[in-house]
């Protein structure tokens, strides 16, 4: 399933709200949490992480994982939290607006 333009950043921020994760972990978390509907390509996720890092919404740090492997873990910064709130309310507004137009599909509709 393709992503809407600009939603990837929001998904990453939301995923990191639950706790720090490394790059591959983020991809997997989005995949699992969307009941395996969203399959984020690492090739797009990774540059997005760099962008978010540059904007100061997430921060990265080298840590050791549960399997005793070193990896770079990303976590949400206070600025990122604020950004997530803004994007969240924008998103719900967008969803309800689209929902109003679409409504339930009428019976017998083709």
């Amino acid at each position: 399933m393709d992503l809407l333009q600009g939603t990837l950043d929001m998904l990453v921020l939301k995923t990191l709200l639950l706790g720090p994760l490394h790059g591959y972990g983020i991809a997997k978390a989005i995949h699992t949490n969307s009941s395996e509907t969203l399959d984020i390509e690492f090739g797009s996720l990774y540059p997005a992480l760099k962008r978010l890092d540059l904007k100061g919404w997430i921060a990265a740090k080298w840590e050791t994982s549960e399997h005793n492997r070193r990896a770079k873990f990303y976590r949400l910064t206070p600025a990122g939290r604020k950004q997530l709130q803004a994007e969240h309310s924008k998103w719900t507004g967008f969803v309800s607006a689209v929902g109003q137009i679409m409504g339930p599909l009428p019976e017998g509709g083709k």
Binding site: H22, Y24, G43, S44, P47, R69, A71
Partner: protein
């Protein structure tokens, strides 16, 4: 966030980020299942893009690559850079002069508000007059309802210093409101104001910042000092602001004095202050918020009353009426005034156009070089496209290369222009007065050069870049013959265009060079070689009337006795000095006309012998002609117009040389000789005996029998002691004649130089094309030779192509030349703009240049060894 991004400009920071990223990606690859992460290299590449400086990195890499390729092709690079440098240099040099003379605003407050006043006679018969009398300037300055300030000014020259060590300094006369009108404040002391411009006010001078620095070592004590101007003590009251050298562009006024002081400083010109003398230019600042048309309307309303007061009461009624009915023109005055604009404005614009043509040829050269090279690089580019380089990326890289080429060319060109514009100013300074302009490259000029270079780089890089990348798109790695053909068609038309443009340049060169030759060869009616001229101003030394005449008579005798002097004479005017004296004259018994109808010259004994003006009948003036009866000598033009069909000798004319007019008996007729300008035919002229009509500012003419410079030195040594207050100048008459040819010399030199340059550039272009095509056709030539073609036939094949290109260019250029050369007809002399000889010479030299350019490639073609050629590829 910006701060973070800027941090990425640091190479060290980028390197550490890069290694961190690589480590991260490796660690993730270890965690993830194999292949799950996809193309990691691409992910890294796009992550780098997030840093935001990829374009800069690419540009840097492109630049490095461009530098390398340019360095590896020294022949190509040198030709292209030199072509561009010459083209850009020529344009920038001429532009910087145009900028300095015509475009640059004066360094004053709000220069765009200033207007220059001009005077238009009611019938509009004459061009608008830009000179005004002192009284008019003062009366206009009193119109406070119209102008917030009116500045009348004129150039001046002062002999500065104590007796015995005087030097000449350029200066200006200004009216009282001048500095206030321009809105200037002094660098030191005070500037002149109305109190200085009143009769009897103590003479005060303002010096320029530059003069203060050079002559007073920027010492503040200069204020209050007295300096001798024309041996009259004047107090320095202030220093004008830095960079300001007066309102006259082209000369720097180092010493400025109020007009009211003129009668005391230059008694001979005291009459300048009378209502009949028009000599001040006027810059005015209209009142704030008043439009130009309103100002004009106000001026028109008040002018008749002003005219009543300021027009000379001595003038005849019709002339007074004409003055009162005249109207004012207001033209933008922010760029000041310059006589150079009238004299050189048109030549400079013509030269700008000519330099533009040179640049076009240079650009065509570079374009064809780039095109030829693009063809040679076809393979490289095809390979790069095939392995996945974006087309835009390659076009960008090629453009970087051509822009870099232009930039190097421009840098060199700016340096060349700096030399060239100095040479231009030197040429202009050969005229009547030296030209001083500030040619420090300013942002106007630099922006001009950069714009030209950039436009050039993009324009002429674009076509080859697109053409080359087009081929790659079809995915062909092999040579594509079709596009190569379209390449060589484009190349040939570029070369023919160059030939056409250089034909224009050569025709221009021929026209201006022939004009100068015609003027130099013209028989002016006197022989200028070997004659020295000394201007005398005895009034400055305190001589008057009879004592002045006696003083001059003595000088003449002493000059005659100097060894090596063949003959000497004295006269009121010398040929081509820029001054003329006119009077009204008619044969005795006929009414003397209202207006002046003849040129008058007061000449001493031996005047015609000294100048070698042939005497056609009668005699020269001699010592008999010191008292009455009054005698005259006329030129042939005068004799022919007033005494047609009969001898003028012995006849009487009545002339306004005295009041009332007196009768003069004609004792001689001389050949017509040039007086005002080499370009205009001599006017009817009457010579009167010098010692019956001495004027005041006169000149000695001395014919030297030996080395002219030695005799000049001897004359100077002999006469200078008699002039303790003024330095005298002994100069050859040839120099005086040369001075009037500055414009022609400028045009001939530059048009000639540009013509040669154009020819050279076009030849290089042609050579490049032929050499390239011989290399490309090596195989074909080999086959032909193997099949029995003679070497001569091969040579002819190359020469034929050269001639075909040149002829195509000439065919395109001739009609253009025929149309465009008419635009300069008014600047020519002694030939028409479509002179067949000039056109033919241009055509022949182009053909010759074409054959010369073909020589080396043709020889190379003839040397092709069939065996080697067939093994080629």
């Amino acid at each position: 966030m910006w701060l973070r991004r800027i941090k990425y400009l640091l190479p060290s920071h980028r390197r550490s980020e890069e290694s961190d990223m690589q480590a991260e990606l490796q660690s993730l690859a270890a965690i993830a299942e194999p292949g799950e992460l996809g193309n990691i290299t691409r992910a890294a590449e796009e992550a780098r893009a997030a840093w935001g400086w990829t374009w800069l990195e690419q540009l840097w890499r492109d630049l490095q690559y461009a530098f390398r390729t340019l360095r590896n092709n020294p022949g190509f690079t040198t030709t292209a850079v030199l072509s561009l440098a010459l083209g850009i240099g020529a344009n920038t040099a001429i532009f910087s002069l145009i900028d300095a003379l015509m475009l640059r605003q004066l360094p004053v407050r709000n220069p765009q508000e200033l207007v220059q006043l001009k005077f238009r006679d009611p019938r509009g018969a004459r061009p608008a007059e830009d000179s005004f009398s002192y009284d008019i300037a003062k009366a206009l300055a009193d119109q406070h309802g119209i102008f917030s300030g009116v500045c009348g000014f004129s150039g001046a020259g002062f002999d500065v210093g104590p007796r015995g060590s005087v030097s000449h300094v350029e200066g200006a006369w200004v009216t009282g409101d001048c500095y206030q009108t321009l809105g200037l404040s002094p660098a030191l002391g005070r500037l002149l104001d109305r109190t200085d411009d009143r009769p009897g006010a103590p003479p005060a001078a303002v010096i320029s910042y530059r003069y203060w620095q050079s002559q007073f070592a920027a010492n503040p004590a200069a204020i209050g000092q007295s300096i001798a101007l024309n041996s009259f003590p004047v107090t320095i009251v202030g220093v004008s602001p830095r960079g300001f050298g007066g309102a006259s562009v082209g000369s720097v006024a180092d010493i400025t004095v109020a007009v009211a002081a003129l009668p005391r400083l230059v008694p001979a010109f005291a009459a300048f202050l009378t209502p009949g003398n028009f000599w001040l230019r006027i810059l005015a600042r209209p009142r704030e918020g008043v439009s130009i048309s309103q100002t004009k309307a106000h001026l028109a309303a008040v002018w008749p009353q002003i005219a009543e007061r300021v027009v000379s009461p001595e003038w005849p009624a019709d002339r007074r009426k004409e003055m009162a009915d005249s109207t004012f023109d207001l033209t933008p005055g922010g760029t000041g005034y310059s006589y150079l604009r009238e004299q050189f404005g048109r030549p400079l614009l013509v030269l700008m156009a000519v330099a533009g043509l040179v640049l076009l040829i240079a650009c065509a050269n570079v374009a064809s070089l780039l095109l030829a090279r693009a063809t040679a690089r076809q393979r490289e580019i095809s390979v790069r496209l095939a392995i996945g380089a974006g087309r835009g990326r390659i076009v960008r890289q090629l453009l970087t290369e051509s822009t870099l080429l232009s930039a190097i060319g421009a840098a060199l060109g700016i340096w060349l222009s700096w030399l060239g514009s100095r040479f231009l100013v030197d040429t202009l300074s050969g005229g009547q007065s030296p030209v001083t302009v500030d040619l420090t490259p300013n942002w106007h000029v630099l922006a001009f050069a950069c714009a030209v270079a950039l436009a050039n780089g993009i324009l002429f890089g674009l076509a080859p870049a697109f053409q080359t990348t087009l081929i790659g798109r079809s995915g062909m790695l092999r040579q594509d013959t079709r596009t190569t053909h379209s390449h060589s068609r484009l190349l040939s038309s570029l070369v023919s265009a160059q030939v056409a443009l250089s034909l224009l340049l050569l025709v221009g060169a021929g026209l201006f060079v022939r004009t100068l030759e015609n003027l130099l060869r013209l028989d002016p009616g006197f022989q200028r070689e070997g004659v020295l001229v000394v201007d005398l101003d005895g009034q400055r030394e305190g001589y008057k009337d009879a004592r002045l005449t006696a003083f001059y008579s003595d000088l003449l005798d002493r000059a005659r006795r100097v060894p090596g002097v063949a003959s000497a004479s004295i006269s009121s005017h010398t040929p081509l000095s820029g001054w003329t004296w006119t009077e009204a004259v008619a044969p005795k018994g006929q009414p003397v006309p209202q207006g002046d109808n003849a040129v008058f010259i007061a000449a001493g004994p031996n005047y015609f012998a000294t100048l070698r003006t042939p005497l056609m009948a009668g005699r020269e003036f001699d010592d008999r002609d010191r008292g009455s009866p009054n005698v005259a000598i006329v030129n042939q033009a005068f004799a022919a117009s007033h005494f047609p069909g009969r001898s003028a000798l012995g006849q009487y004319v009545t002339a306004t040389v005295t009041k009332p007019p007196s009768d003069l008996q004609i004792v001689g007729v001389v050949k017509d000789s040039i007086g005002e300008s080499l370009r205009t035919a001599p006017r009817p002229t009457v010579y009167v005996s010098y010692f019956q009509r001495a004027s005041g500012t006169d000149s000695l003419e001395i014919r030297a029998a030996g080395s002219i410079s030695q005799i000049a030195a001897a004359i100077h040594k002999e006469l200078q002691p008699s002039f303790p207050k003024t330095p005298i100048d002994v100069r050859p008459l040839t120099a005086q004649v040369e001075q009037t040819l500055v414009e022609e010399r400028l045009m001939a030199k530059l048009a000639g130089g540009f013509g040669g340059l154009g020819l050279m550039l076009a030849s290089v272009g042609l050579y490049g094309l032929l050499a390239y095509s011989v290399v490309r056709r090596t195989k074909e030539i080999g086959v032909r030779m193997a099949l029995g073609a003679q070497r001569g036939a091969v040579v002819w094949m190359v020469a034929r192509r050269a001639l075909a290109l040149v002829i195509a260019g000439i065919a395109a250029g001739l009609p253009l030349a025929w149309l465009l050369s008419r635009k300069v007809q008014s600047m020519l002399f002694g030939l028409t703009a479509t002179d067949a000889g000039v056109m033919a010479a241009a055509v022949v030299s182009l053909m010759g240049a074409g054959l010369v350019a073909a020589y080396v490639p043709a020889r190379r073609a003839a040397r092709v060894d069939p065996m080697t050629a067939l093994r080629h590829e």
